[in-house]
């Protein structure tokens, strides 16, 4: 009994550590920044419009 506890509890602590590390990693990677848009991204037909003015065609004047 005691022997199995000696092994299993440190193991559970290790798993807890792993879970915390994985969660922190995901937060840092921005996984929770936007929970709305990405789910719809696959359904978008067009490329998102390019907001950068430098790619605009030259004016005709």
């Amino acid at each position: 009994m005691m022997a199995s506890m000696m092994l299993l509890i440190p193991l559970s602590l290790l798993m807890l550590g792993a879970a915390v590390w994985a969660f922190f990693w995901a937060v840092d990677k921005g996984q929770f920044e936007d929970l709305e848009q990405p789910s719809r991204l696959a359904l978008e037909e067009d490329q998102p419009p390019n907001a950068d003015a430098t790619t605009d065609p030259p004016p005709h004047s």
């Binding site: 005691m2 000696m6 559970s12 003015a53 004016p59 004047s61």
Partner: protein, 715 residues
Amino acid sequence: MSVIPLEGHWASESLGEGHVVFNAEGIHCGNCARSIRKTLGELEGVRRVDVNVVNNRVSVDWDTSKLALGRILGQVSALGFKPVPLVGEAAAQAQQMERRLALKRIGLATLGSTQLMMYTVALYAGALQGIDERIAEYLRWTCLVITTPVLFYSGAPILRGALADLRRRVLGMDVTVSLALLLAFFASSWNTLRHSGEVYFDSVAMFILLLLIGRFVEMRGRHQAAQVTDALAKALPTMAQRIRSDDGVVERVPLAELRIGDLLRVNTGQVIPVDGTLACDSALIDEALLSGEPLPQRHVRHDAIPGGALNAGSALTVRVSRLPGESTLHELVRLLERAQSERPRLGLAAERMASWFVVRIVLLTVLVGVVWQLIDPSRAFPAMLAVLVATCPCALSLATPAAIAAASSRLAKLGVLVMRADAVEGLATVDTVMLDKTGTLTLGSPRITRIDTADGWDATEALRIAAALEAGSQHPLALAFREHQHASWRCEDAREIAGEGIEGTVDGQRWRIGQPGITLTDDRGRHASFEVTDPLREDAIDATAALSALGLRLVLLSGDRHEAVQRVAETLGITSAHAGLKPTDKLQRLRAAQAAGRRVLMLGDGINDGPVLAAANVSMAMGRGSSIAHAAGDLLLLRESLQSLPEAIRVARRTLQIVQQNLRWALIYNLAAVPVAALGFMPPWVAAIGMSASSLLVVMNARRAGALPAGGSVP
């Protein structure tokens, strides 16, 4: 002390008066705000300090000859708060950092407390059924190992808040919470070390988790409220396409290099960078961001176009009429920032109540401890802990600011900007609406609706002659003729005869325009008559009907002629209409109504009605285009739609209802929990759940103020 980079966008300055608004991270309660106000207020040269607890904003006006901005920011960071610029990349990054850190803290607390719960169940089961003492001790040590990072990493903002409170010698709600957490943690650790007594590790972790969730919800609300201004501020591009005057070549220049009179090119879908006048024949402009008006509007040459509007049609050219720093959008952002950094009176009352509570809770806790020590020493500690936790007035402090913030962003979506923090409360409690006619119920721009000419005379010619005569006149009706002016028709010796009309020579011929009505005559008896009216806004009828349906008394106050006012009043079904009033008469009427116990909302165009607007209980100004900066009002209606007004009143009433609900709930909960906890019927973990659930309930309830259900009716 951290050194803060000083950049141009931190502050604005004019005539020796500086104005800055920034976020101060770490403000949690009224006491933090009070200490900032006090410290900055004592600096020489500071004229005004406002601190908002809801969105952590600090707004300062100061004399730039006596004080540098660096001193102000330095003082704030010396108090333990981190000043962060509001607008632009840094603010967005600071928000992201804050959000990520909060998520991590919640994540650790969640994982930690679920794990702790399992060990605690084992310990409880063991206590009932018998457990090997070595295993129980092993489990307690494991709990200690898990709780330590939860307390000192996840709980760090709470502990730090308490420390900052103590350093300033004030008692905030963080103090009681931290006291409970530390007492429980160290008592449990001590019991673990000496192998006897209760442990409360699970309660500590759970309390932290629940507190953090409440704060997270509150933080999201705060970030959302800040988004309105940030969206405005971010809308302006940093570069513009200038058309060189000598060779017509288009060059890209930074906004700072623009001068008045420059010709700019704006491509399809781009934002117009500064206020200007349209220099091409027509354009389709989308002002949704500025006014909330959803449909793009057609504009013609010489129309004023506000910076921040979107070019929804083909490429256009615009002539710069104001420098970037003075443009409509900048003024709006500045006004809004000032408004958002003010503290509503309602919130102040709740704050005072909360700090009154803290002192009494600490005293009560000590009393409970002493009494239990005499009766049953083993139950003294859990009872003290329960009292401390269950009675924390967190819900009380959060009840109001969260609701006001939610309502403000809801109102902004209706095109109503809250310029003064008390305006929401004011709007909810008015029972009388006083309306101005010209420019408020009507479009404010008189138009020529009919021309009658004698003997088949050309109407266009008559109109041009009339326009030439009226060109120099200051009469309001002369405005109607302005758009018909033509360069080849000039009047040389226009002479205004008071109450009669204007005489002058146009194209070698004597003309007179004036009474009766507006009639143009010459010596030979040729004549034409013009009908000029100021048309009602399209939705004025619906809006006034909706206001009456809300139980509001409508009063029309106008400086206009009796017949014109009567006609409008009859069309709109307003029974109380007063014509021919001077601004002082309007003020008198308003005061009389207030003296009769009525609470008055004044709706005016914001420019001529200044004093009347200021005297009303709450005022709303029609702020359009370039007039925004001059508008004086607690609320600003940006949309050309009066329909927003009844809607805004509904939102405000609902918000006030929610605030009162919240305060009542927080008070009842705290009063009910104290005796139960003091008598020892409440274990600390139940107290933790109760207190946190109460705060969470209050914050979630507050967010309802931001959402109006479809149909939008309020009992």
